[in-house]
């Protein structure tokens, strides 16, 4: 690898340093990689790790009125853990998110299968069709459901107009079910993609082998396709579950009193009740709950995933 820049090494200590650095960059490709990565890493650390760190510190302080007491204390955590009701709210949020995840992934699997196996020529078109709704405004999509499920909304007025019902249905909106429907719709596209990827990457020869060895199509699906697609299913579940636990917009717009999730309480602590430390503690605990649940799913499916690879 010859290049003109290296035929005449510059002289002097600065020149020697430059040569040394150049040499190091040359030899250790990894170092070059790091240097390229550093601006991005810096941004990530500065804009994410640092704030989360400060959040953690805040959770150990206490606030009364407008004064924040900077003595480190576990008071907030004790309060949250000992008040059964706080833990119940977090538990409820996890449960709702879990329901959303199951519903979304179950609905997403067949269509991922469809695109991976049944579509030969226009895969790109289908993939684009699937991705586009996800990239439109989240707020608008949630709001669309609010006007669909509302008392005088699209479903109710449509049914009334068609003469099917007299009084509007009240169970459509302002409850956890509305939250599940809305979130399942909002996150559906993101659930499809990981499953699709793992199905697409699947070695077709394995499927052929199964058929040659006498498996019926159903058997082949259950014994080969499904297990091999588990990594995709798990990834998809994570991608839906984790963000939905902290969601506060959907519960606020369509949840009603019963559909409240922990995100609403966090928001209240910061914007109304004026207790930032308590809100921070709540955020940290929610994050931990999410991590633990995800870890649990990760470990449970570890065996299945190992076999898949």
């Amino acid at each position: 690898m010859t290049s003109e820049a290296y035929t005449t090494p510059p002289a002097g200590p600065a020149g020697r340093l430059r040569t040394a650095i150049r040499g190091a960059l040359f030899r250790y490709a990894g170092l070059r990689g790091y240097i390229l990565l550093s601006p991005t890493l810096l941004v990530l650390v500065g804009a994410m790790c640092l704030p989360v760190g400060i959040l953690l510190v805040y959770s150990f302080w206490t606030q009364s009125y407008i004064e924040i007491d900077h003595t480190l204390t576990l008071a907030n955590y004790i309060k949250i853990f000992t008040r059964q009701s706080y833990m119940l709210l977090i538990g409820k949020s996890v449960l709702i998110s879990f329901t959303v995840t199951v519903a979304t992934v179950l609905l997403a699997y067949p269509i991922a299968y469809f695109i991976a196996f049944k579509v030969s020529r226009y895969k790109i078109v289908w993939l684009i069709l699937i991705t586009v709704p996800f990239l439109t405004s989240y707020l608008l999509r949630v709001f669309a459901w609010k006007i669909i499920l509302g008392y005088n909304g699209i479903i109710n007025s449509g049914l009334k107009w068609l003469g099917i019902i007299d009084q509007p249905l009240t169970f459509l909106l302002h409850n956890p079910t509305a939250v599940v429907i809305t979130l399942a719709h909002a996150w559906a596209p993101i659930a499809i993609l990981p499953i699709f990827v793992s199905l697409e990457k699947m070695d077709r020869s394995l499927l052929e082998a199964a058929t040659d060895l006498g498996d019926s199509p159903t058997q082949r699906f259950l014994r080969v396709t499904l297990p091999l697609s588990i990594p995709g299913v798990v990834a998809s579940s994570m991608l839906v579950f984790i963000p939905t636990v902290g969601d506060y917009i959907t519960p606020q717009l369509v949840g009603g009193p019963d559909g409240m999730m922990v995100g609403s309480l966090m928001h209240a602590m910061f914007f109304r009740a004026n207790d930032w430390p308590l809100g921070s503690a709540l955020a940290i605990i929610s994050a931990m709950a999410i991590t633990l649940t995800s870890l649990g799913i990760w470990l449970l499916t570890k065996q299945a995933r190992a076999r898949a690879i």
Binding site: Y65, S85, T170, P257, M260, A268, M269, R272, A273
Partner: protein, 367 residues
Amino acid sequence: MKKNEMLDRLADGTLNRRSLLKGLSAMGIGVAMTPYFHGRANAADQATYFTWEGYEVPELHGDYIKKHGASPEVSIFADEGEALQKMNAGFTPDVAHPCSYNVNLWRESGVAQAIDTSRLSNWPDVVSSLKTIPGTQHEGKQYFVPFDWGNTSILYRTDLVDIKEESWGLMWDERYKGRLATFSGANETVPYASVYAGVDPWNMSDADLAKVRALLEKQRPLIRFYADDVSSIEQGLASGEIVAGSTWNSSNVLLKGEGVPVKFMNPKEGIMTWVCGLTIHPKAPNLDAAYDLIDAMLSVEAGKFMIVDYGYGHSNSKSFDAAGDEAIENAGLSRDVEAFLKAGVFSNEFKDRDAVLKMFEEVKAGL
């Protein structure tokens, strides 16, 4: 270079930088790269007005528009707690619109400055009892300009509700389960619950707080939604989704005007009264415009609109004459402001604000 050809070469990766730039500039994208202009040049000179929904209408600051040629910049809040947080986080409006019980907190938080009332031409006409509401003055200085006053009470559908007497108890009536709505702000809902429980809302002991909490927890299953704003309650009443909701005078005027059969209750335990007004932020960027805005809102024209169209009282004593006795009657107001306010439960500061707020947030969350 034709567009299609360019796209093909773009996708293939054979498009080189020079031709790309040529193509792009041909499409006029160069224009888009020019530095962003700063929007309307005069936007920076207008006062920023931070208020509840409905109060930004031009009829309430006509004099300001005459002087400055346009309405002020408006930002809406639904909850004073949220408003305070936003300001604490750095939002600096010129004029804000809290209610009297929050002025102390806002002043101590550093978001309200002493107001020079000599700069307000309409100040001498302001009802004197409103000038000296507890909490709005500090060390002889005025921190609050009273603007509007009125009631919080239950607005109910007379055709859908059957009650023998007017009482706050309607909000706990099991017959209307799932058809009631109340404000999500603690300042709005907790007081009437306390009044119904028979305790003094502004000086609750721990036992009192527990009693009110139990009552609010009893109410929760009956509530269809906790409203962040007046519109949801108004819409709900208009469509019949809810049969009763806690709200303010203006909703009564609005729905009656639309032909909806409603009545604004005068509960036997006492109707809630409040006075809200204007504060100036210490770091207000457009101080002169701020004073102009406040003065405009204190004017008689604004007051007349307030009484006739909104059904709220106005702080300028001359507005009563302009509005006329009939309008005052219709709105359920009175010329004797002091007596009016005393006849109901006047909104004040909670003794332990944080405890009350937190309690209500927990109740709402179902905890």
